[in-house]
């Protein structure tokens, strides 16, 4: 009994060690289904061959002993060395085979594992071992007792549970499935013919395989039997499942393709820098996913008109052919109207298609690309067969189209953003340039104080003012306002500046200057553009100012005694008449100035500024504020008007270009006054 126990312990430990070795050996082996079963078959075939050769090798011919296998009846002790040799080799070969079998099947059973599937697997192994150990004291040939029967039933329950873990099958290709079916059949044959399922005599490859095992170590025999049954069961469920899955393999592969394509498309959404690559990937998606034989992407052709679609990228078809397939304008408007996919199941019989070029196209699908409720283009997919598009194809391609629409829309937005930033830069440059066209400082002239400012509603504007010294005694002051606003006004303003600097020095009077300016501008001004202006020449010696108004807001004059009025002479705006009427319309007014008199020039932006209620600032308010602050010098008066204006409109936003020029005649040369004051200060 003691010996028996020792033997059991040694055999059990040995088996555990062998299992551990097998597990370790296969741990890092590839786990693709075909390879797993293949490795089982190869090792199984080798081991069973060894066992089969061994059993047929030599005969038990010990004289005086006439036992079938050379074991003592009753005790089951091997009586000859040949019997021991055969027993060990045949048993170990079987044990190794089922260990490899189990450790490899484990990989398959645990594909897409859940905690319960993992639990079931290890529970089965545990039940195998437990049920086997129940046979530890059973002698070879003895029938199983009741407890052992129950253990086998439990073990079979777990076998069935694990035999339906077949997730690995769905991802196989058609060819792989076919090959695996063959492998399963061989595996079943190998298992039945090798270890067999007990002492039923099924082990035709290794005669008496089970008997040798029983004599070797009873629990091992039980374990091998259970493992073999499980192997056959698993092989059978795999075989059947593979067989049933064969016809749906194509569909499954298409789903896989769709998923992969969708994945790569999702990355494309961020791909805004290379529009062409984006288009190509979008066109390729239906073909790559297996939803169509041909596909192409059509977008509005901005060169020929907005509704004409132009093919931007294709997959599987010649571009020239596709462009002529449809009346693309008609198609584009159809798609824009319905915002739904257009499905043509019988392309050859459809009047919308150009039959000659429709060769090779059996059915066709056009899906509009819609982003932010706008149709950006269409994704076309075609199949060689008619009625080729099933509902799920249409859905898949619609999803591609939706993804593509977002990606293309992103790319557009990005382009617009870049363009906007470029324009902003250009405009800020234009603004700088225009600022340089205006005087940087007011000229310093004794007896005069002057202040001027100009703001534009947009980056650039059409207001202009300038000063020019005409000899020792004269100063020319101009203010102008180009009709309209923004860039076009800014260009004419620049032209006006050029004319002023070249013509003012040779024109003897304001009217002469304005007539020359009108002639010069007539050649370039658009019909609907005109410039209003006032030109004044101030003579310091005679203390007179002569001014001519060409359609401009009348200048204001405010006397020291409080008398204030607008100088409203007759005169057409520059560019309103390009013949002699302009010159005839002009009148000049000459005013004698007294010390303290102020002349104020401005553009309509000042008097037409509105408050929150839409009320205009107006001529009366301007005149009264000028009267109120008439004792200030030009700077003080200038800022008083701007302050009042800002207070009136209530916000810093100007609606129009706005220019204000203040010229105050002091009469006495104030610089000499200042100098004397300074010298007084210095001397103290």
């Amino acid at each position: 009994m003691g010996m028996l126990l020792l033997y059991a312990v040694i055999m059990t430990s040995g088996s555990i060690a062998l299992w551990t070795l097998v597990r370790r050996y296969f741990k890092k082996r590839p786990t693709s289904a075909g390879r797993v079963i293949w490795s089982v078959l190869v090792s199984g075939f080798a081991l069973i061959s060894i066992a089969a050769i061994t059993t047929n090798f030599g005969t038990i011919s010990t004289p005086g002993i006439d036992l079938p296998l050379g074991f003592a009846p009753g005790s089951g002790v091997p009586l000859t060395t040949t019997a021991i040799f055969k027993m060990v080799i045949v048993s170990l070969a079987q044990v190794l085979f089922v260990f490899i079998l189990l450790s490899r099947i484990q990989e398959l059973v645990l594909v897409k594992r859940t905690s319960s599937s993992q639990h079931n697997w290890y529970a089965m192994l545990f039940v195998f071992v437990a049920a086997s150990l129940l046979s530890v004291f059973r002698a070879a040939g003895d029938p199983q007792n009741f407890v052992q029967d129950i253990a086998i039933v439990v073990s079979i329950v777990f076998m069935v549970l694990n035999a339906f873990r077949l997730s690995w099958i769905v991802s196989l290709s058609f060819k792989e499935k076919l090959a695996t079916i063959g492998l399963c059949m061989v595996l079943i044959v190998l298992l039945i013919g090798g270890p067999g399922i007990g002492n039923s005599g099924s082990s035709f490859l290794i005669p008496d395989a089970y008997s040798y095992l029983e004599h070797y170590f009873m629990p091992l025999a039980a374990f091998v039997k259970q493992a073999t049954i499980f192997g056959i069961l698993y092989g059978t469920t795999s075989f059947l499942s593979l067989l049933f899955h064969l016809p749906t393999t194509g569909d499954f592969r298409q789903r896989e393709g769709e998923r992969a394509t969708m994945h790569s498309l999702t990355h494309l959404i961020g791909q805004v820098f290379e529009a062409e690559r984006l288009f190509e990937s979008v066109a390729a998606a239906p073909v790559e996913s297996g939803s169509a034989d041909y596909a192409w992407l059509a977008l509005p052709d901005l060169d020929t008109g907005f509704l004409q679609y132009k093919v931007f990228a294709t997959s599987g078809i010649v571009p020239a052919k596709v462009n002529d397939l449809f009346d693309s304008t008609q198609l584009a408007s159809d798609l824009s109207r319905d915002n739904l996919p257009l499905i043509i199941q019988k392309a050859q019989a459809d009047h919308r298609l150009n039959l000659k070029t429709a060769d090779g196209i059996g059915s066709l699908l056009a899906v509009p690309l819609i982003a932010r409720e706008e149709v950006l283009g269409a994704l076309f997919a075609a199949k060689k067969v008619s009625s080729g598009f099933e509902q799920d194809d249409i859905e898949t391609i619609s999803i591609f189209a939706a993804q593509a629409a977002v990606a293309i829309d992103n790319a557009h937005l990005f382009e617009q953003q870049v363009e906007r930033e470029r324009l902003e830069r250009e405009m800020s440059i234009a603004r700088e340039v225009q600022q340089k066209l205006l005087p940087q400082n007011v000229p310093e002239i004794s007896g005069l104080s002057m202040a001027a400012s100009s703001v534009s509603a947009q980056e650039v504007g059409g207001d202009y003012y300038d000063f020019v010294r005409l000899g020792e005694q004269e100063l020319g002051v101009i203010i102008g306002d180009v009709s309209g606003k923004g860039t076009s006004a800014a260009f004419y303003m620049a032209e006006m500046q050029g004319i002023f600097h070249s013509v003012s020095r040779i024109a003897k009077s304001p009217a002469t200057f304005l007539t020359h300016a009108n002639t010069a501008l007539a050649q370039t001004l658009d019909k609907n553009v005109f410039i209003s202006a006032i030109y004044a020449i101030l003579n310091l010696e005679t203390e007179r100012i002569v001014l001519t108004r060409a359609g401009h807001c009348p200048a204001a004059i405010v006397r020291l005694n409080g008398e204030a009025r607008y100088i409203r002479t007759r005169g057409l705006g520059l560019g309103l008449d390009r013949g002699s009427l302009f010159q005839q319309s002009l009148t000049q007014e000459s005013i004698s100035l007294d010390p303290g008199d102020v002349l104020v020039f401005y553009t309509d932006g000042v008097v037409e500024s509105r408050d929150a209620e839409g009320e205009e600032y107006g001529y009366d308010r301007l005149l009264s504020i000028l009267k109120e602050y008439r004792h200030e010098d030009a700077d003080g008066l200038h800022s008083a008007v701007l302050r009042d204006l800002r207070g009136f409109i209530g916000s810093a936003e100007y609606d129009d270009d706005m220019t204000l020029v203040v010229v105050k005649w002091h009469g006495v040369p104030i610089d000499t006054l200042l100098t004397s004051t300074q010298s007084v200060k210095e001397s103290t």
């Binding site: 306002d481 009709s483 309209g484 606003k485 019909k527 359609g551 705006g573 309509d604 129009d656």
Partner: protein, 116 residues
């Protein structure tokens, strides 16, 4: 958004455009479209009724300048009537009365077409 509109009316052979609201750089295109429509309909005797015109900017005035030549070449005219004082002032400052028939009453403008 746009606070400007053009109404179309006929008085005999004369096309009357009733302007309403504010005519500025943004709304000028609407008046342009209206005058172009008159030209397309061969209606070149045009009266602009400004009774409800509250504001006009230089861009608005530019529309009249853009079409007057063509209309007159076709034997027609654009006459302006019933302007509010403030709006008339803008026309007047630029010297428009020297270029256009600007009258107080629409009937007078119609009468001038009939006499002509």
């Amino acid at each position: 958004m746009s606070n400007f509109s053009v109404g179309f009316r006929n008085s005999g052979t004369v096309q009357i455009l009733d302007l309403k609201g504010e005519l500025d750089a943004h709304t000028a295109s609407e008046l342009e479209a209206a005058i172009q429509k008159c030209q397309a309909d061969n209606q070149v005797q045009i009266i602009i009724n400004g009774a409800n015109l509250l504001y006009i900017s230089s861009a608005g005035l530019g529309v009249f300048m853009a079409y007057i030549e063509e209309v007159r070449e076709c034997g027609g005219d654009i006459k302006i009537a019933a302007l509010q004082p403030k709006v008339y002032n803008v026309f007047d400052l630029l010297g428009f009365p020297m270029l256009f028939d600007i009258v107080d009453l629409e009937e007078d403008a119609v009468g001038k077409f009939v006499v002509a």
